[in-house]
Symmetry: C2
Subunit: 472 residues, 2 copies
């Protein structure tokens, strides 16, 4: 980065952080009075007062919202107080599920897009789980915090730099949590790799990659049938948070390191399949390649193919000074092996030597030095590095959870932290840092440019914040 | 690209192309008199007069040079006229090999770094194969062409933008070939994929990737022991040509499409292993991520980890509107399947249905629609899409060749083209386009910048040049 650029950026970032409160957003939600004077009290590691029972309101009961309702209904120490959706059918589906589970039926809010505001006037709700169309995420989260409740919001939490700052400012002003529910951070494989990262198995991290090849057919149908499809409006990666969530935990983003700037390149849009090529003209280009560089000089290569002919593929790489995880297909290589793994290799080596001896010592003697190779035995790694959360709640997650248990585990962990007076695994700074990437990509496309600085929503606090604990 | 940038670039590229001839290079090779007036007669698809016998001189008989000598000795229609190396031991090794093969011993040139110039005064040599340290590649190739011989040079052919232009200008002025010997273009898998690309199996190409994770130990030893190591001097990817060679053939670079610009990001340099961290301080950063965008709007993601803890890994991806190749681990997915492949899947489907029926129709009936998946059966793909060159010469290549036969096949193909009056598979424009990437990456590091335009060495001819034939 040139010094001039950095200075200019620091200046403009400062300008934004004092003025964005006044920014006019959709007038569908409560306007916040501009306040350039309020004290920015950090919400890093914010701990809400212990809750014996977590009282929940839901806004949005579509596919994701219903799934959250189901998961909550299997967790102890919660009460579902209210449901809100403009679609009465969706609401009925959630109610019927709760009825089957013999859970006291919550109050219902519907009838208009703003019915959620009535729900927010209640004083018997602690947290609100927001699973609505993307453009409603920030307005609803802001209203939630302003009504003295913690907000838990689907990905992405915001769709612009201004919205990200608004979430941060509101969380700091109200001292309420705003957690983006990126459940990829709670996947079994992702948490195993986090465990290995925390134990130093990969050494010092230098590079990560996240590739999303999004399945063609469903998305094209969605585009063809829905003129409001986000895929039509946003010419960038819609869900970089899925890959970036875990990688930013590995790299301690907001907690010792920070996103610095990104570069992006996009391939042109080529013809679509015959079935859809005349129906919709997508804004999104076919293949987006973004590289984020962190303040400590790590790089993260985020790749996204929106119009993919490949099966749905989500591929992650994390590389350190001692080794690499890459998958799927999942494989791990480590230069210096931990003692247990080394013993494992020694056993393999001894067996190979024995076989070589039995075969009359034909060919080269098996070499122990060749242990540095890709190991794709995930069962083995999982046996040794299963994350504590999966060790204790894995069976329950598989039994109750959809999406391979990670959504259940996320919800369980949220409720656990709130009931036990612990800080949540992810703060509003994570919501903002992860959500801002897609709008910055969009800016690059619009501006026909290739590089953009990334705001530091912690206002420098990342430097002195401890890494995420291994408990998450 | 901003219009201003492009205009500026075109102007400066033009300025370079008329003045670079006068550029002072190492004074170890013949200076070319500046000539701003000579006609730029293209060497695109240059065909040299048929040679009944190809008479060869070798400069450089180290690991690569000796390998080329061995391969040539197994090919009909050649005569090895001369060997040149400053290292008499290397020369002896080559001579001894030829003696074993009962081949007439060539003349030897040694004694000084410029002994090769004496060899070039001979009139009985048609082509010169240059396998010397990198910094000698351009000077020797230029001298070769100026002495009325065709130059075949190891990768990279040049180490700066000026050297690339010098190769192009010299080839055009002398109407002699200058082919960079990127043998990766002749690999079995690479040519199979080229065959599939040419047959349209992947549809229209949109994106490619090439990842090189270079093995740690050998390289660090090289750096520790050799102060002249290129790895010490060049802070970028030394060998992007290995991955870019095949991908640029897939994408018809110089023949219908052209490199436009590149962006690059590099991770910082982290600590090295204990064994070497005090011995050498590398210039190259740990992980370089470069994205090349082509004139037609395709992207190529070139990744390079120089200080890798992973086993040596060279990974390629090519993605089109109908599918993707990715590997290793090698796998292919295609949306619309060709008839033969479709029949293969139908057979699998029928077997699955039969099994399902035999098991009393338990569970879901196997679905033919789920055929879109990753297929890693490379034997199957190779059976159907083996490249003609591998079909006819594969057995011979495996028998005589090192590096999995690709170097032998490359050499066989070069000799074949020269003896049959065919254009070579790769021209000086390919040598320049592929070689210029590494110096441009270095410029970005030096300038602390992220974007750079890539010169068009064909001077616009790429637009009207036919794609490479499928024969290569």
């Amino acid at each position: 980065m040139k010094i001039f650029d950095r200075r200019f950026f620091i200046k403009s970032a400062a300008a934004i952080s004092t003025t964005h409160i006044a920014t006019t957003l959709a007038d569908t939600f409560t306007q916040i009075s501009p306040s350039t004077l309020f004290d920015h009290k950090s919400v890093m590691h914010l701990i809400a007062p212990k809750m014996a029972t977590v009282r929940i309101g839901f806004i949005g009961l579509g596919e994701r919202g219903l799934s959250h309702v189901k998961h909550c209904s299997h967790i102890d120490g919660i009460e579902i107080k209210a449901l809100c959706d403009i679609d009465q059918n969706a609401m009925n589906q959630a109610s019927q599920y709760l009825e089957q589970q013999k859970i006291t039926l919550p109050d219902e809010y519907s009838g208009s897009k703003l019915a959620y505001k009535d729900m927010l006037t209640r004083n018997d709700i602690d947290i609100v789980i927001i699973s609505t169309p993307t453009e409603w995420h920030t307005p609803m989260a802001v209203d939630t915090m302003n009504s003295n409740k913690h907000a838990f919001v689907e990905v992405p939490a915001a769709t612009s730099v201004d919205e990200c700052w608004l979430l941060v400012d509101t969380s700091e002003r109200t001292q309420k949590n705003c957690m983006m529910m990126e459940s990829a951070c709670y996947g079994q494989k992702e948490l195993m790799v986090l465990q290995m990262v925390k134990q130093g198995l990969f050494g010092e991290l230098k590079h990560g990659e996240s590739t999303s090849l999004i399945e063609l057919h469903g998305q094209q149908k969605q585009e063809a049938n829905n003129n409001d499809s986000s895929h039509k409006k946003i010419p960038a990666h819609l869900y970089p948070t899925h890959g970036l969530g875990p990688i930013s935990q590995y790299m301690n983003i907001n907690r010792g390191d920070q996103f610095d700037f990104l570069t992006a390149d996009q391939s042109t849009t080529l013809k679509r399949t015959e079935a859809t090529q005349n129906q919709s003209k997508p804004v999104a280009r076919d293949f987006n390649t973004t590289v984020i560089t962190t303040k400590l000089g790590r790089t993260i290569n985020v790749k996204h193919e929106i119009n993919s002919q490949s099966p749905y593929t989500h591929h992650t790489v994390i590389q350190g000074t001692n080794g690499t995880f890459s998958g799927p297909p999942n494989r791990i290589t480590l230069e210096k092996l931990p003692v247990t793994v080394n013993r494992h290799y020694q056993n393999i080596h001894q067996l190979a030597v024995k076989k070589w001896q039995e075969n009359g010592q034909k060919g080269q003697k098996p070499d122990m030095q060749n242990q540095q190779q890709w190991n794709d035995n995930m069962a083995y790694w999982q046996e040794h590095y299963q994350h504590p959360l999966w060790q204790s709640k894995g069976a329950e997650a598989f039994q109750n959870g959809e999406t391979h248990g990670k959504d259940f585990l996320m919800m369980w962990r949220i409720i656990y932290c709130l009931r036990n007076g612990q800080a949540l695994d992810q703060s509003v700074y994570d919501a903002a840092a992860l959500s801002v990437i897609s709008p910055l990509m969009t800016d690059l496309v619009t501006e026909n440019s290739n590089r953009k600085d990334i705001p530091d929503f912690t206002r420098g606090l990342w430097k002195n914040t401890a890494p995420i604990s291994n408990a998450s």
